[in-house]
Amino acid sequence: MKKLLFVTTCAMFASSAASAHTYFVENYAPAGYKQDMAMRVPHGCKDSPVKEVHVRIPENVMGVTVADNRDWKIEIKTRKLDKPVPGEGGNMVTETVDEIIWKDPKSPLPAMGYFDTFQFRVSLPKEEGSVVWFKSYNVCEKGDDKYVEVPKETMKASAPDFAKKMGEFMRSVPGPAPYIVLTKPTRAQYPWETLDMPAASKAAAK
């Protein structure tokens, strides 16, 4: 047994922020890339195992495909687009993925001790320096766990106090949404592209 100095403890822990919320394994990805997203669910709702995982695809994220998962049943909800947009190969896309649900697992994800990762692929928006939030929630055998909090003001990675603001935000809310920060690409995604003309826009230009 050891006695604790309260003030010291407080100060020590207050200086670090972190997420054991549902989060993306990679926090950064180049703007405009096609990106494999790995969403990690690290625990259940308090002491209850997870039986459903939901994620909502933000409005400016398109081209969603979902990795197969032999342990969970996948359900995809779509929404109609206000205006059709050109997709790959020049087809006009009128519908896009709105929500991905992983449910009815072979066995529920234990409340603690293990994590699971849920994968899907998206076309990231081109806005360098912006933060894209994917609201998510888990349904457990008892209760649910919501990760749907997003900052009231738009965050810009280029702002000098970005890290401080993100830290403050993450600490101030009960369940921040998983997010990805869009970095400035240093090269084109594929070797046959150049940075000023990535594959998608080439296809559209043809």
Partner: protein, 530 residues
């Protein structure tokens, strides 16, 4: 900085505690323990009494593996305590919670009462209702005896019989006034029979309108006792004042007399009560008259009473109509709402009483005038039935006070705790993102509070929500992270029972109204708990 590369671990989870949340301990605890699933670092861990004063000292907190201990050097006095903690998990995320436990007595506010049951489900409600029926019966009997003594002339023996009954009725009513405070408080505090003896029940009760009611009512009953003992000739002012104050004591509580327009409703309820009391007070002297006095004299008394009774019955009925019209708002509500049905039953009983009175006036009184002895015994029978009907009518009146009138329901009121005026508690409206939330907290006092929240869009229409939760904190007492999940109390109304509000102060609330599973509106507001 953001520790993105830290190992992903679960938040710390509280596996158990001594005492458990909501536990009632027989003896003061020596050691309080929180048991977590992993190593934690304490941010704070404290125990507060109901006054919000911290007990124990930070230096007495020890960390032992996954357990956090607080040793108490002194015994905690009997009472309810708030245990509040916040720790950081291995993943550095702070987690915390707040719960109640009690020493030597039931936990002050039943934090685990299922939403929807509310306060109405407790056994105390029945006790409150019975006491209120006793109060209604004996107060009207006493006030009626006084009004009759002042306003009517009957043979002396009959007068004395009426006054004697009134005297005892006033004494019982005085006790019922006092009991109403303790029982009303116990209804709010809840718990076993011993709660009635606790100071907290009486403090809670004295914070309601039951207190001013008793403060007026008890002296009124003492005045009546004095006046009825002394006789009408010597103490007319005491009798009148006692009757008026007794009736006034009913006007400061209950929903009818406090409904808008207050001046009209209070006047109507006052007239209604005075007429009913006069009628009830007349029964005993008339009974004795018909029994003891010569038939002719009884006939004379009845004739005199009848002429006044007609007036008072008309006033009784007219004032009742006005009250009904304000409270019920539509004829349909008379059969479709709980309040309306009870009122309909009361009216049916009243018409029964009216029929008896008509029989007395039209058949028995003329017969008495003709000195028919059978009429006297007939009168005694009808008087006995009138007594019984009266008690049923008053029982119906009591049952009315236990439900909300359509007026209050239509206005979005929630009824609140029986015996309390509608304006009790705390109400506020908060706006956020083009939405507004109507927040209604009852009773707004230390102990368990019920939060009712309705969210409206910018057109003012109540909207359906997917779910709602709340986080409460009382920064002045260092209480944080009181988490509550709302229960749907209706299609658009959300209901939270909060037992942790046993410390007075300005509680800060963050409510999240989920319009769908992902999108929500955040409302922040403060609730003063007195």
């Amino acid at each position: 900085m953001l520790a993105a590369s830290r190992p992903a671990a679960a938040h710390a989870v509280l596996l158990g505690s001594t005492p458990k949340a909501g536990e009632q301990l027989g003896t003061p605890p020596k050691d309080l323990t929180l048991n977590f699933n992993e190593n934690v670092g304490p941010i704070f861990f404290k125990v507060l009494d109901k006054a919000g004063k911290e007990v124990g000292k930070p230096g007495e907190i020890q960390l032992d593996g996954n357990n956090l201990h607080m040793t108490l050097s002194e015994d905690l006095p009997n009472g309810t305590y708030v245990l509040t903690y916040r720790v950081v998990s291995a993943d550095t995320h702070p987690v915390g919670a707040t719960f109640l436990f009690a020493v030597g007595e039931p936990v002050a506010a039943a934090a685990n009462v299922k939403a929807g049951e509310g306060a109405g489900a407790s056994g105390w409600t029945a006790a409150v209702a019975i006491n209120r029926l006793a109060l209604y019966v004996f107060m009207t009997l006493a006030a009626g005896a006084a009004l009759f003594a002042v306003g009517m002339t009957v043979p002396p023996a009959a007068h004395q019989a009426g006054a004697r009954l009134g005297f005892f009725a006033a004494a019982i009513a005085a006790i019922a006034y006092v009991m109403s405070i303790g029982l009303g408080g116990a209804e709010m505090v809840m718990g076993g029979p011993s709660v009635l003896l606790s100071g907290q029940s009486w403090r809670q009760g004295s914070g309601t309108t039951l207190m001013p009611s008793a403060l007026i009512g008890v002296p009124a009953m003492l005045l009546l006792m004095f006046g009825l003992r002394a006789g009408a000739n010597n103490s007319t002012p005491a009798l009148l004042l006692g009757a008026v104050l007794g009736i006034a004591s009913f006007l400061v509580t209950g929903h009818a007399a406090t409904a808008a327009p207050v001046w009209l409703m209070a006047t109507m309820v006052g007239i209604h009560l005075a007429c009913a009391a006069f009628w009830l007070g007349a029964l005993r002297p008339l009974y004795v008259t018909s029994h003891d006095a010569p038939v002719a004299e009884a006939g004379l008394a009845m004739t005199r009473f009848s002429s006044r009774a007609v007036l008072s019955v008309a006033a009784l009925f007219a004032s009742g109509l006005v009250i009904t019209w304000v409270q019920v708002e539509s004829p349909k509500a008379m059969i479709e709402t709980a309040y309306g049905v009870r009122l309909t039953a009361k009216l049916a009983l009243f018409f029964g009483l009216l029929a008896l009175a008509a029989y007395n006036k039209l058949v028995l009184t003329p017969a008495l005038d003709r000195a028919n002895p059978a009429a006297a015994s007939g009168l005694r029978k009808t008087i006995t039935i009138e007594y019984l009907t009266y008690i049923l009518i008053l029982a119906a009146a009591v049952s009315l006070t236990l439900t909300s009138p359509p007026r209050a329901i239509n206005a979005g009121g929630t009824g609140g705790v029986a015996g309390m005026a509608q304006d009790q508690g705390f109400k506020t409206t908060v706006k956020a993102d083009g939405y507004s939330a109507d927040v209604d907290v009852t009773p707004g006092k230390t102990g368990e509070n019920m939060f009712m929240i309705t969210v409206r869009d910018n057109s003012g229409a109540a909207i359906k929500l997917e779910s709602m939760d709340m986080m409460l904190a009382l920064p002045t007492a260092g209480i944080a992270d009181v988490e509550k999940t709302g229960q749907a109390a209706g299609p658009e109304m959300w209901h939270f029972m909060v037992g942790e509000t046993i410390i007075p102060g300005e509680w800060e609330v963050k409510a999240r109204a989920f319009v769908n599973a992902f999108d929500k509106v955040d409302f922040e507001f403060k609730v003063p708990i007195k």
